[in-house]
C-alpha cells in the first residue's frame, strides 16, 4: 500500500545510507498505512463489542423476565413479546454477526430501556452536540493555553512567569473535579448568582440555531467549562514546561543561540517545536476521551451530555444504550489517535519513514 519514490539527486550523496525516498509519494504512503491500521483496529473493536456480550451468561431479556416473575407467573405470550421487543438474537452466530454489522453501519442500536420508547441513536444524537461543544472546545482551549503557558514558563525559567503558572496549575489540578465543581456551583452559582447551576439551556428556551439560544447555551455551559479548564490546565502547563526544559538543554538549541538566531525563533521553532511532540500523544488521548464526556462534571451540573447519559445507562442497566456508548467511545479514541498520528507525520519528519 506504500509507494516509495526516490527523489532526484539522492543518488549523488554516496555516504547517506538512511535516505529512502521523500516527497508526496512517501507522505501518502504514510497516511495510507495509518488509515489501514485504523480500519483494522476499528473492525477489531466492533467485533469485540459483538463477542463480549455473547460470552456473558444470561441476557437482557432474562433479566427483564426475572423482574416480571417476581410479581407473578409470566405467560408464554408475554415472554415472546418481551424477547421480540428486546431483540433476542435469532439464527446462527454468523447471521447474527452480519445483522450486527448492518446495525452498526446504519447506526441502529435499538431502543433504550430507560427512556423507552426513544431509540438509542436519537438519545445519543441529542446528547452528543452538548458534550462535543462543552468538553471538546474546553479540551482544545486547555491544551493550547496550557502549552503556551508551559512554553513561556520554561523559556523564562525561574522568573515569576515560571513560578506563578506552575504553582497555580499544580494547585488547581490537585483538586478533584467534583470538588472544584461544587465550589464553583456554590460560590458562582448559588451565592453569587452569576451563572445558572444546572441544565444546558434555560427553561423557556428550546434547542434551535438562533443567536439567543446559543448565548443561553454558552451561559449555561460556563460553570462546567470552567471546572474542566481549571482542573486540566495545570497538567498541560507542567507537561509542556518539563519537555521544553529538556529540549532547551539540547545541542540544537545551544547551536541556534551560537548562530545568533532571534530568541523568539529559538524558543518557538527550535525548543517548543520539538517539545510539543511528546505532548501530542496525551492530547490525542484527551481528545479521544471527549466523546465519553466528563461524567462527574456533567452529573454535578445536570448537563445533558454523553457523560450524563452514560451515568443513567449504567445505573439503570440500559444495555442497548451502554453498548452503543461504549462502541462510540472506543471508535472516537481510535479516530483521535489516527488524527494525532497524521499530525505527527506533518510535524515530525522522522515518523514519515
Amino acid at each position: 500500500m506504500t509507494s516509495v519514490t526516490i527523489a532526484p539527486g539522492s543518488a549523488d550523496i554516496s555516504a547517506a545510507p538512511r535516505i529512502a525516498g521523500s516527497g508526496r509519494g512517501r507522505a501518502w504512503g504514510y497516511v495510507a498505512r495509518k488509515a489501514g491500521l485504523l480500519l483494522l483496529t476499528l473492525w477489531a473493536a466492533i467485533t469485540l463489542n459483538f463477542i463480549l456480550p455473547r460470552l456473558m451468561p444470561g441476557s437482557p431479556a432474562d433479566a427483564a423476565l426475572a423482574k416480571l416473575a417476581q410479581n407473578g407467573p409470566v405467560s408464554e405470550g408475554t415472554k415472546a413479546a418481551i424477547e421480540a421487543q428486546l431483540g433476542v438474537p435469532t439464527g446462527n452466530i454468523l447471521e447474527q454477526y452480519v445483522a450486527y454489522l448492518h446495525q452498526v453501519i446504519t447506526l441502529d442500536f435499538g431502543v433504550s430501556y430507560t427512556f423507552y420508547p426513544q431509540s438509542v441513536s436519537e438519545l445519543v444524537s441529542t446528547a452528543l452536540p452538548y458534550t462535543l461543544v462543552l468538553v471538546g472546545v474546553v479540551t482544545i482551549i486547555a491544551f493550547v493555553l496550557g502549552t503556551l503557558l508551559g512554553v513561556l514558563a520554561a523559556w523564562k525559567r525561574g522568573t515569576w512567569l515560571d513560578t506563578l503558572p506552575t504553582l497555580a496549575g499544580s494547585f488547581a489540578s490537585a483538586f478533584p473535579y467534583f470538588w472544584t465543581a461544587l465550589l464553583l456551583l456554590f460560590f458562582a452559582g448559588y451565592v453569587g448568582r452569576l451563572f445558572p447551576t444546572s441544565g444546558a439551556y434555560g427553561p423557556t428556551a428550546s434547542p434551535q440555531f438562533t443567536i439567543g439560544f446559543l448565548g443561553d447555551a454558552i451561559y449555561h455551559a460556563a460553570l462546567p467549562a470552567l471546572t474542566i479548564l481549571i482542573t486540566s490546565l495545570g497538567g498541560w502547563i507542567l507537561g509542556m514546561r518539563n519537555t521544553m526544559i529538556s529540549t532547551i538543554g539540547d545541542d540544537y538549541v545551544t547551536f541556534a543561540e551560537a548562530n545568533g538566531l532571534k530568541p523568539r525563533t529559538v524558543a518557538l521553532r527550535y525548543a517548543a517545536r520539538n517539545a510539543i511532540l511528546p505532548n501530542l500523544t496525551s492530547f490525542g488521548l484527551a481528545l479521544g476521551g471527549v466523546v465519553g464526556g466528563s461524567i462527574l462534571v456533567e452529573r454535578v451540573f445536570g448537563y445533558p451530555g454523553i457523560g450524563y447519559l452514560l451515568f443513567n445507562a449504567v445505573t439503570n442497566q440500559d444495555y442497548p444504550l451502554m453498548q452503543a456508548l461504549f462502541l462510540m467511545i472506543t471508535v472516537s479514541v481510535l479516530i483521535a489517535n489516527f488524527l494525532v498520528d497524521i499530525l505527527y507525520g506533518v510535524l515530525d519528519p522522522r515518523t514519515r519513514r
Binding site: 550523496i13 540544537y252 547551536f255 548562530n259 521553532r269
Partner: protein
Amino acid sequence: MTTLLEITDLSVDYGEGAGSTHAVNHVSFALEHGEFVGLVGESGSGKSTLGFAVTGLSKPPAHVVGGSILLDGIDIASLSQGDLREQRHGGVAMVLQSGMNALNPVRSIRNHFVDIFRAHGHIDRADWSSRAEELAAKVELPSSVLDRYPGELSGGMRQRVSIALALSLEPKLMVFDEPTTALDVLVQHAVMDTIIELQKKENFTALLISHDLGIVLESAERVLVMHEGEIVEDAPSRQILENPRDDYTRMLLSHYADPRAEVVELPGFEARTPTVSSRTRRQDQKAIVVDHVSKVYPAPRRGEPQVTAVDDVSFTLEPGQSLALVGASGSGKSTLAKLITAVEKPSAGSVRFGDLDVGALRRGQFRQLHRDVQMVFQDPYAALNPLHTVEYTLTRPVVNFTGLKGLDARRRVLELLDTVGLSPVEEFAAKLPHQLSGGQRQRVVIARALASNPQVIIADEPVSMLDVSLRAGVLALLEDLREQWGVSLLYITHDLLSARVVTDNIMVLNGGRVVERGNTAEVLRNPSDEYTIRLLDAIPNPGRRDVA
C-alpha cells in the same frame, strides 16, 4: 599579524559561594588573526567551559567571575544579550562537540540556513538559495542535502552541515569543540581535512578544542595545553612535539605512539614478545571456533536491500590467546561479538565454544555460556545502574554464577575489586557509580565480567570513552588478566595503537568480511590490504600539517 582575541586573567566558576568550583582559573592567552590554535586537555580540564566563555554561551551554573575576553577590542563578557547576538555575524562562531545533535530534527537543512540569513539580514533574500548551495559546496556536500532533514544524513554529513552553518556567519573566529569526537575514524579524518582546508581558504582564525593531542598536533600551528583549569603550556606544535616543557604535556605525549613502529611502548607496557601468547596455565580451557558465520538483517525499510553485517567469517580464539578485531563502524565487529555471546543467532555457519553450539542455545541455556564468556562494554557510564552500589552490582553475578552466599560472596566481591586494582576495596564497594571516574567505572565493569571466573572476555572498545591517561591503566589490567589468570581476550576496537599493545593476533574487518589477518605487529607494520592502510593513515599524524 595583529591580535584578534585577547583573553586576560579569565576565571569561570560553576555555582556560587562556598560550593563553587573553579573550572577555568586565571587564564590568559591571545590569538592572532588567521592563526590555527589547538586547545588540548582531558575531561574536566575546563577546555569546553573556556570555549563556551569565548563564544559568550556560558550558561548557569557556569559564569564568568573575572577577567576579560576582548575580540577586536570589544569585551564579549560584558556585552548585553542583544549586542552579543548581533556580533555573531562577523564575530565568533562555534561548532559543537556532538554535531550529530546540533541540528533541529524537525527542520530541513535549507531552513537552518534561512533562519541564520533572516536573523542577521546579511544576505539578500534573492540570494538565500544560491548562498546556501555555495556553503554546502564548501564543506563538500551536494546541494540536494538542503532539502533533507537531519535524520536523513549520516553523522559526518551532519557535522559538515554544522560547519557550513557556522561558516555562513562569516566569522572572524571559529571555535571547534571536539568536532570529530563522535565520528567514525575514517570520517573523522575526512572532516578534519575539510576543516584544515577551509581555514586556509576562508582565512578565519580557528580554535580547535580536543582531548586528542594527536588531532591537535596535526592541524594546529600552536597548542595550548590545559590541565585543571589552567593553561600549563602554550607553544608551537613542533616544540610541543619535540621539546615539551610541562610534565603534564609530557605525560599526554607519552601515550602516543605509532602502531607501525618497530617497537611500541606505552606507559605500563613493555614491547611485546609475541611468543608468550598461546600458553595458558588453566586446565580444560576451551577455544571459541567461529566457522563460516554470516549474519543478515532484514531490510530496514521496504524496497531496500537486506543488510549483511557479517559475511562468511571464520576464526578461532585459542585458549589464553589475545585477538584484535578491528574495523571502522559498520564493519561488523560488534555484530560478531553479539553472535559469540548468543545475543544474536547466525544466519549461516556456526559459533562453538568447546562442544557448546552457541547459535543453537535457547533462552534458558544462556547461563552455560555466560559463565565462561563475559563481555566488557564500551560505555562505562551506561553499563552500570546508577542506583546500585558497586558491591550490589558485583554481588549479583557472584551469587548467580558461583552460588556463593553471604560472607563468602562479599569476600569474593572484595577479591574482585582487588584484582581490578580498586583499593581500598571496602571503600570502593560502598560507592555509587557517579562517585567514580570513568576509568574506575570501567574497572568495575571488568570486575563484574570476572565475577563468574570466565575463560573468555570480549571487550568492545573498552577504552574509547576514557581519557588518554586512563586508557593505559585499563589496557594493562586486561593484559594482566590474561597473563595471571589465562583469560582469553577478544579485543574489539578501531584504535590500532591499543590493538598493537594488548594483542598478539589481529583480524581486519571491512563490510562484514575479513580483509586481513595475522600477527598484530606484522600486519600493522606491513599491511597488504588497502583498507588496513586507510585505517592506519587515518591515525592522526603530528607531522601531517608540515608536509601539506
